[in-house]
Each structure stands twice: as structure tokens, then as C-alpha cells.
């Protein structure tokens, strides 16, 4: 049952951020590249929620866009249900696209303000030619019902809805092509907490009902903790740790994960002792040598400054940190 629905291998994306040609010649500057994602690999099993967390600039959204085919990778392979995504072939991409959908962060920007809600939701159905005529409006009504709105809301325009209701519309549209896989890019970060709870609960219910697989992108660790089965932590475009949700929060392996957990405000007022956070994410155009986290790492060693760590296996996943190689060596000699 635990078959892999999506696998990503060595996914890399570079953006050319060079100045125009003439400036480069006059100012004698090299071309400049920003590596938004650097050989990222992970797998998502059918029916699970895999989350990617990281701070701004860590490459979360870039990876999401590559997976849904909005952005072409510079290198690496994306396999959906065993089939490699071929960005060159329009027809192949179209058939794949029906099977995955995306929910965006800002429900004010992701819905066309000039379209009525039923047209917005029906668009994927019409594009993929799934239904015709009266069946379409029945299906739209059913979808609206499913996400907690009423079928009569279909004749309204997006501006007549609140932020939470718009996100429900976006979810209904994502469901309309009967996808197996939904990429949710910060689905609740534009919403108030009480509305966020409604949307998160709805997403869970829909997952149970339709056996959906989610890739959840978020900067909010508590949301991720609540929703995900497995979590990948990104730092400057690299996946520094992957672990099962519970394990990641109780026993983080990578120092960055630990720092991120320590930075979350302590709502329970448990008074747990925490390490003060230091530094900020460096400029991704010119990242530090070796392990990119080394300037902020409390446990930095000499090797970290020169050598980029490979992924070392942990209890429920992997972590890219030289500390683990030492531990492995120590336990190996015992």
C-alpha cells in the first residue's frame, strides 16, 4: 500500500540574475546565478502528507512550482506515479496535469475577479473535457457543498467572499479535475487562526474521503506538525533533514532544525530552555562554502567550512550534517 506517488531526484534550479550584457562588459562582472534549489531528492508515498518547511528564500515555492510543471528544472528528475515528467512534450504534460493540482497562498490573487465562482470551478472540468452540459453545473454544486459553501454561491464573484471562503473556492477548483495529488503552497498563511483551523480541518477531511496525497509547503512549524506525516526541512535550497513528523519535533538531528524549533514561540508556557537564535539566512547568490549553515551553526567544525555534507541516515529519514558522520564513525569503532 505504501507505494511511491511522487519522487524527486537531484532537483536543481538556477536562476540567472546577471546584470544586462552591456553592464557586464563595462563593469567587468561575471554572470551571476541564484541557486534556488540544489539537488533536492525526496519521495512522497500515496495518501501521505509530505511537508517542506523553511524560511523565506529557502526554495520551498520553487520546488513546488517545478513539481506542478510551472517551472522547468535546471537538472534532476521528477517522477509522478513512476512516469518521468517530460517538460518538452505538451501532450504528456497535459495528461499528467489533470492528476495533480495546486492551492496557492493568496486567495485574493489566485481567483480571477471577473469570473463567477461556478466558472472558476468548472474551468478544469471543461479544459480536460471530463463532463458536459448540465453535468458540469451539478458537479460544481456538489464541489461547493463539499467545501462547506452552498451551490447557490456559484453565481457570485470572488470579491463577495471572505479570505477563508475564497480559499474554500480554490480548494473546490483544485478538486474539480479529480486529482490524486495536491500541492498546497502556504494554504493558510494569509488567513486568521480561527479560519486557518477551518481550512486545515477541511483539507484533512478531504484527504480521508478521497485518499489525496498532499505536498504541503509552509513556514509555520506548528501547521506542519499538525498536518504532515513526514517533513523535509530546507535551508538555502538544500534539504537538510527529512524525518517523520513526530520524530522531527522530539528528536531533531540537524542543528538548523533544532534552531528552527527553538525559534517558535512557546504557547504552552512550559518554560522549556531554548537556545537563542543567531544570524540570518545568507545571500543565496553567494552562499557560504561547505555546509551553507556553518556561519550560524553552534556546533560548527573545521570540516563544515570546506565540505558540503552528504545525507546521512537517521532513525526515520536523513540529515545532511557532518556531526552524524562522526557519530557513525564513533559507533562504528565501538
Amino acid at each position: 500500500m505504501a507505494d511511491v506517488l511522487l519522487s524527486v531526484e537531484g532537483l536543481t534550479r538556477r536562476f540567472d540574475v546577471s546584470k544586462p550584457w552591456l553592464n557586464r562588459v563595462i563593469e567587468r562582472e561575471e554572470r551571476q546565478f541564484l541557486t534556488a534549489s540544489e539537488s533536492v531528492s525526496f519521495e512522497i508515498k500515496r495518501g501521505e502528507t509530505f511537508a517542506l518547511v523553511g524560511e523565506s528564500g529557502s526554495g520551498k515555492s520553487t520546488i513546488a512550482k517545478m513539481i506542478v510543471g510551472l517551472l522547468e528544472p535546471s537538472a534532476g528528475v521528477i517522477k509522478f506515479d513512476g512516469q518521468e515528467m517530460d517538460f518538452a512534450s505538451g501532450a504528456a504534460m497535459r495528461t499528467l496535469r489533470r492528476r495533480f493540482q495546486m492551492i496557492f497562498q493568496d486567495p485574493f490573487a489566485s481567483l480571477n475577479p471577473r469570473w463567477r465562482v461556478d466558472d472558476i470551478i468548472a474551468e478544469p472540468i471543461r479544459t480536460f473535457g471530463l463532463l458536459r452540459g448540465a453535468e458540469i453545473s451539478n458537479e460544481v454544486g456538489r464541489l461547493l457543498d463539499l467545501v462547506g459553501l452552498s451551490a447557490a454561491d456559484g453565481t457570485k464573484f470572488p470579491h463577495e467572499f471572505s479570505g477563508g471562503q475564497r480559499q474554500r473556492i480554490a480548494i473546490a477548483r483544485a478538486l474539480s479535475s479529480k486529482p490524486e495529488f495536491i500541492v498546497c503552497d502556504e494554504p493558510t498563511s494569509a488567513l486568521d487562526v480561527s479560519v486557518q483551523a477551518q481550512i486545515l480541518n477541511l483539507m484533512r477531511d478531504l484527504q480521508d474521503e478521497f485518499g489525496l496525497t498532499y505536498l504541503l509547503i509552509s513556514h509555520d512549524l506548528s501547521v506542519v506538525r499538525h498536518m504532515a506525516n513526514r517533513i523535509g526541512v530546507l535551508y538555502l535550497g538544500r534539504l537538510v533533514e527529512v524525518a517523520e513528523s513526530k520524530r522531527l519535533f522530539t528528536d531533531p538531528q540537524h542543528p538548523y532544525t533544532r534552531m528552527l524549533l527553538d525559534a517558535v514561540p512557546d504557547l504552552a508556557l512550559s518554560g522549556r530552555r531554548r537556545m537563542p537564535v543567531t544570524g540570518e539566512i545568507p545571500n543565496p547568490i553567494n552562499p557560504p562554502s561547505g555546509c551553507t549553515f556553518h556561519p550560524r551553526c553552534p556546533k560548527v567544525m573545521d570540516i563544515c567550512k570546506t565540505q558540503n555534507p552528504r545525507d546521512f541516515p537517521t532513525a526515520t529519514g536523513t540529515a545532511a550534517c557532518h556531526l552524524l558522520s562522526q557519530e557513525a564513525a564513533v559507533s562504528g569503532t565501538d
Binding site: Q165, S194, S222, D266, L269, E280
Partner: protein, 330 residues
């Protein structure tokens, strides 16, 4: 009890519109003691920022204070002439806004902005002002402050910019700092640092803080007491620990339940059905009555006032009215 540093009494802010007057804040009353950090939480549109703007005299027209009083250390400040208010703003009350890019002028260096602020409010020489500015930047944690002070705001990262804004707010040694969503635009790891700086430096200088945010976690980390706003009305006010761990108002309880935490294991979040009403559609009686799980007939009829509870807590909910209790016991 000593006079509080800031005292807000029955503050009503209204927006006259063509379709009638909208009441954005309705009889909001609270005090901030000397050196205290008061957190103010609420969802978007609850009136958090408006409260801050009303205190500092920066309500955008046509918004206006319809009634109520604001006292700063025993002096009434809500009806001061514009020029007098301008002297209080910046000098006695400092502001930290959400977006550090809009609160700093991109055309002036950080030094120019800090020195201008210091010299506007204090009688010091240019040289002395610069010295103070460097010391301030150093205090808020900007590395190599003496060199970086001549940089422009765009040279700084988001977190560093917010540090500059904090330095700017504290430049004239104000008695009260109003921080309106100071960390909302920042990443968590930077947020933690900014909160620490704000907390430390205000404690050091004995400044009180009104911390406005939608993030209950930030309040839990920072504030002594918390005021919960709902649809322009205070739902509950009390010590942070009490309110978070044992909320009395059903809205606060619902709000706390809807926040996912790092430690809980609940499968589903408790959710409050519906959304906060718009200002033109606030229901009669208690504004929370359509969404309240414990609603009863009185809630549809009368609007509750803040009811004093034990340990300095106040809650505006008919559940805690003494008469109701008697009736239910009888």
C-alpha cells in the same frame, strides 16, 4: 494603586460613511502599568491597529474618536491640539510598525533619520546625537554599528531594518512604545531575535509596551497581560498565563483551540464556525453570539460589559454575570 502609565477609557472610534456610521471600536477600556507589556490580540479587522492609531493620534480621516478618554500619566491626550500631540508622538510614545520598509525613508541614511529624531525631541548637538545613535544601533544588535549607520535602509536585511526601526522608536527615550505587528513580516528565526531585543531594551529603559499582534505565540513570549479584541470590543483581558491556559470568554477559548501547537497530538483542531462579522453587520447584543457555543437568550438582547473577575481578570460575557449564576443555581 499608582496611576497607570496609559489609561484608555470607553474609547469609541467611528467611521462616518454614506450608509451610516460604522463603529470600529466600541467602549474599549484598559490600562497599561509602568514598565508593563500589554499584548493585544485579535483577528484581522478586530480593531487592534486602530486602537494603537487612536492612542497616538494618527487615525486616518474620516475615522475619529467619537467618545472616550485617553490618559498618559495623568494627562489627557486624546483632545490635544495637533501641535502638542506631535510633541508627544515620538518623544513620549514611540511607534514600531509592521513593515520596516515603509516606516524608514529610503532616501535618507539611517544616521540622518536617527539624528533627526533625536535632535527633534532632545536638546543635543549633532555630534552627541550621532554618538547616541551609534550606541542605540549597537544596543539593538546591529554589527559594526559605527560603520553601518551611514548606510541606506535598502542595505539592510528585513530583520536588521526592524532593528533600526526599534532604535528609531526608542531614540527619544519614550515612556510607551506601541509595536504594531513588529514581527509579522519576518521569518521565525528572525522574529525570535527581534522579540528578544524589543523586550530587553524596553525593560532596560523602563518603557511600557503595547504589543499589537495576531500571533498568540508572540504574546505568550513577551507580554505580561493580554487583551483580546473581537469586532472592535474587548472580549477578555488578564494575565497572559491565565488567559492562555484558562480562557474564560468562549471566543478566547475557541481561538486558543484553533491554534496548532508543537506539542499537541489532537487529530482535529477545534474550530469556531463562521467568521468575524463585518462592521456594518455586527449583531445585536454580544457580537460573538452567532458563533458562540454557549449562547443563551440574553446574549441576543444585551451587549455585555467587562465584568471584573478574580486575579485582575476582566471578561465581557454574560456567562460570568453574577445574576445569571444565581438564576442557574436557583
Amino acid at each position: 494603586m499608582a496611576t497607570p502609565l496609559l489609561s484608555v477609557r470607553d474609547l469609541i472610534v467611528e467611521f462616518p460613511t454614506r450608509r451610516g456610521t460604522l463603529r470600529a471600536l466600541d467602549r474599549v477600556s484598559f490600562d497599561i502599568a509602568e514598565g508593563e507589556v500589554l499584548g493585544m490580540v485579535g483577528e484581522s479587522g478586530a480593531g487592534k491597529s486602530l486602537t494603537g492609531a487612536a492612542i497616538i493620534g494618527l487615525l486616518e480621516p474620516p475615522g475619529r474618536i467619537a467618545s472616550g478618554e485617553i490618559w498618559l500619566r495623568g494627562e489627557r491626550i486624546d483632545n490635544l491640539p495637533r501641535e502638542k500631540m506631535r510633541r508627544i508622538r515620538g518623544r513620549r510614545i514611540g511607534m514600531v510598525f509592521q513593515d520596516p520598509l515603509t516606516s524608514l525613508n529610503p532616501l535618507y541614511t539611517v544616521a540622518e533619520q536617527l539624528i533627526e529624531t533625536i535632535r527633534t525631541h532632545m536638546d543635543v548637538s549633532e555630534k552627541e546625537a550621532r554618538k547616541r545613535a551609534v550606541a542605540l544601533l549597537d544596543r539593538v544588535g546591529i554589527p559594526a554599528a559605527a560603520r553601518r549607520i551611514d548606510d541606506y535602509p535598502h542595505h539592510f536585511s528585513g530583520g536588521m531594518r526592524q532593528r533600526v526601526v526599534i532604535a528609531l522608536a526608542l531614540a527619544a527615550e519614550p515612556e510607551l512604545v506601541i509595536a504594531d505587528e513588529p514581527t509579522t513580516a519576518l521569518d521565525v528565526s528572525v522574529q525570535a531575535q527581534i522579540i528578544d531585543v524589543l523586550k530587553e531594551i524596553c525593560a532596560e529603559r523602563g518603557a511600557s509596551v503595547l504589543l499589537i499582534t495576531h500571533d498568540m505565540g508572540v504574546i505568550a513570549e513577551t507580554a505580561d497581560r493580554v487583551a483580546v479584541l473581537y469586532a472592535g470590543r474587548l472580549a477578555e483581558i488578564g494575565p497572559v498565563r491565565d488567559v492562555i491556559q484558562n480562557a474564560e470568554h468562549p471566543y478566547t477559548a475557541g481561538l486558543m483551540g484553533s491554534i496548532p501547537t508543537l506539542t499537541q497530538t489532537a487529530e482535529r483542531l477545534t474550530q469556531i464556525p463562521g467568521a468575524m462579522p463585518r462592521l456594518n453587520a455586527i449583531p445585536q447584543g454580544c457580537a460573538f453570539n452567532p458563533r458562540c457555543p454557549k449562547v443563551f437568550d440574553r446574549c441576543y438582547r444585551d451587549q455585555p460589559n467587562l465584568i471584573a473577575r478574580a486575579d485582575g481578570r476582566q471578561v465581557s460575557c454574560w456567562l460570568y454575570d453574577a445574576q445569571v449564576k444565581e438564576v442557574s443555581h436557583g
